[in-house]
């Protein structure tokens, strides 16, 4: 009698595999986005093997050369190979994206968990603080803080992580408030579980979906934020190449003679941020119907024949 049960257990694909299958099948654009993100990670990790030249090799003799066989994307005002600099820029973007998103997710989760779970006075005070924080234009706030802590990779990650984390704590908070009304939370309170146990065992696992989405979307925001800061000269100092600093004001005088300098860093940035956003949107649709921005498939039902038919053919989401 035990055998068939084993078989059933074996046949059921793992949650991860099932998720991947749904992603590819239902969200083609999100899949493309995911592939772009993975590609950027690989480029970033293996930058030292992939880049044909060192990122800081100045060769004044070959400065501002248009794209050629040796320098596929041309060279900049100091004769540095632009392709190599874009490849190294991927590493900076990857580090800032992952570390900034991780920090912001941790901060958002901490504030959101505590504020949502305990409520009361703590929540009111915390939320007024978040209100005040969010009524500044983010860039004003970032620039104010960056002017104090000075430029640098670490500073950029800390500032962006803090800023995004406080703003995103709202999403975690509302998710926690939704979960804590559930009967199983009450039940574990009744059997005398401590607050920490309830938070970690019951609430945290149930808000993983929004947390994963927050992490993904924060990565895009962090990458764009770093690029903006570096563009304005408050981000990561030279000679480390970043996509933002490659487009910066100092470089612009040369772009009139060498238009390729104005194009490729922006293309890299745009494609990566687009990929992350598409991937994050898809993840959100698949993981958490409550957070869904769009209407999803069921929204199409009854709205014209074509969409209705589709929904009938594939009733499971």
């Amino acid at each position: 009698m035990t055998e068939p049960i084993d078989e059933i257990v074996k046949k059921k694909p793992s949650r991860f595999a099932d998720f991947m299958r749904r992603l590819v099948k239902e969200k083609p654009l999100a899949t493309i986005g995911g592939v772009i993100v993975i590609f950027m990670f690989l480029v970033g990790i293996f930058a030292n093997f992939l880049s044909p030249y060192p990122y800081d090799e100045n060769q004044i003799k070959i400065r501002l050369q248009p794209p050629s066989v040796e320098h596929i994307l041309g060279t900049d005002q100091l004769g540095r190979d632009q392709l190599s600099r874009i490849i190294w820029g991927a590493r900076v973007s990857m580090i800032v994206g992952v570390a900034g998103a991780a920090l912001s997710t941790v901060i958002a989760t901490l504030i959101g968990l505590l504020s949502g779970f305990y409520g009361g006075k703590f929540d009111i005070i915390m939320q007024r603080f978040v209100d005040g924080w969010m009524s500044f234009p983010a860039l004003f706030l970032v620039l104010s803080i960056m002017s104090l802590v000075g430029p640098g990779l670490m500073q950029v990650i800390l500032v962006l992580g803090l800023l995004m984390g406080i703003a995103q704590s709202r999403i975690v908070r509302s998710a926690v408030i939704g979960i804590k009304r559930n009967i199983y939370v009450e039940a574990s309170k009744a059997i005398g579980a401590s607050d920490i146990t309830i938070l970690i065992r019951h609430i945290l696992p149930n808000i993983m979906a929004p947390i994963i989405v927050i992490f993904t979307l924060a990565m895009g925001t962090a990458i764009l934020g770093e690029a903006t800061l570096s563009f304005l000269g408050f981000g990561i100092p030279p000679p480390m190449p970043t996509w933002g600093s490659m487009l910066s004001v100092e470089g612009r005088t040369y772009m009139y003679q060498a238009t390729w300098l104005a194009i490729w860093p922006g293309v890299a940035l745009g494609v990566v941020v687009w990929g992350i956003n598409m991937f994050g949107d898809g993840l959100r649709d698949l993981l958490d119907p409550r957070l869904r921005g769009g209407l999803g498939r069921y929204g199409n039902m009854g709205l014209g024949k074509k969409a209705g038919k589709k929904a009938k053919l594939k009733p499971t989401a």
């Binding site: 603080f129 803080i145 933002g244």
Partner: protein, 318 residues
């Protein structure tokens, strides 16, 4: 309604108070940096002013809470935002002079953003899953993903290379020279507006899709009303509340984005002033800009809440 507005305005006071604390602490977390900068930049020929004397002169020698009380006291009693650390000029007139310039940029940007977003969003909803819908949604995501500083750079570089045209760099107000003024403001405003339109377009589409499925819309169709009347009069007004909300939420992003575009297009607005003061750590100006901007954002949020009552007769404020 009036009582509600007054109550909301009163509620702004504690929020603004909190904001002044954030602004003040932000500027003072690392004390003395402006002093260091000044001491380092003193011309060698001049009599060297000592650190203590300079700190006393600028009011940095007292504990931080007293500095705060002094700052906030001057604002409350006679609207004085203090003096610039470098030029020693009064901050308030200096900052307030810049706001109308930026305001024009924000206004045109929001106008353009809405002119792009709402028609395309509606079209995208009433022709769901058509080719046009896909193109519109792709455009919306592109608006969000493409960094404004890159688009700004492209607009500066390529027209100049191809057609020898570049936006004017000398600022003239709209009333002095409308043509030159618009040539200067339109390119950055369009870029800024595109960033706004991405979000608004998506929200418009989503809300219209939801509203268009409601029973009363079916009734409107069955009464034989034209598409224009059904979509614009019956559906649009009911879809507007979340759209207005998202516009309100995007205002800080528009203001923040203007820093970048004012820098690229050399518009002498608040954003440019911000960048300059951040470089030489002129706290009083920084605090002044942040405070006024935050107040504007709070008032916009209040305005957004007010429009709900107009858009939806069921919403009452008491």
């Amino acid at each position: 309604m009036r009582a509600y507005i007054i109550r909301r305005l009163l509620l702004l006071i504690p929020t603004l108070f909190l904001i002044t604390i954030i602004i003040f602490l932000l500027a003072r977390l690392v004390p003395g940096t402006a002093i260091d900068l000044m001491l380092a930049q003193q011309p060698a020929t001049q009599d060297q002013i000592g650190r203590a004397a300079l700190e006393h002169e600028l009011g940095f020698d007292v504990p931080i809470h007293i500095q705060y009380v002094r700052w906030i006291g001057a604002i409350i009693t006679h609207g004085d935002l203090g003096d610039s650390l470098w030029s020693r000029q009064s901050v308030a007139p200096n900052v307030l002079r810049r706001f109308p310039i930026s305001f024009e940029l924000w206004f045109i940007a929001i106008l353009i953003g809405l002119l792009i977003a709402i028609p395309i969003g509606i079209y995208s909803a009433i022709r769901q899953d058509s080719v046009g819908d896909y193109i519109a949604r792709g455009f919306a995501i592109a608006c969000i993903a493409l960094p404004s500083f890159w688009l700004g750079t492209l607009v500066m570089v390529f027209p100049s290379v191809w057609w020898r045209w570049s936006p004017p760099v000398e600022y003239l107000s709209f009333f002095q020279n409308p043509g030159q003024n618009l040539q200067m403001f339109l390119p950055p405003a369009i870029i800024l507006g595109m960033g706004l339109s991405g979000m608004v377009m998506r929200m418009t589409r989503t809300m219209m899709l939801e509203v268009l499925r409601q029973d009363y819309i079916r009734t409107a169709w069955s009464k034989g009303l034209t598409e224009k009347v059904v979509v614009l009069r019956h559906a649009m007004k009911n879809a507007l509340i979340p759209i207005v909300t998202i516009i309100g939420l995007q205002i800080p992003a528009v203001i923040g984005g203007s820093i970048i575009l004012e820098t690229i297009f050399q518009i002498p607005g608040v954003g440019r002033l911000m960048i300059d003061t951040v470089f030489n750590r002129d706290y009083p100006i920084l605090q002044g800009i942040n405070l006024i901007t935050a107040a504007i954002v709070l008032l916009v949020n209040l305005g957004v809440d007010m429009t709900y009552a107009y858009l939806d007769p069921r919403v009452h404020y008491e």
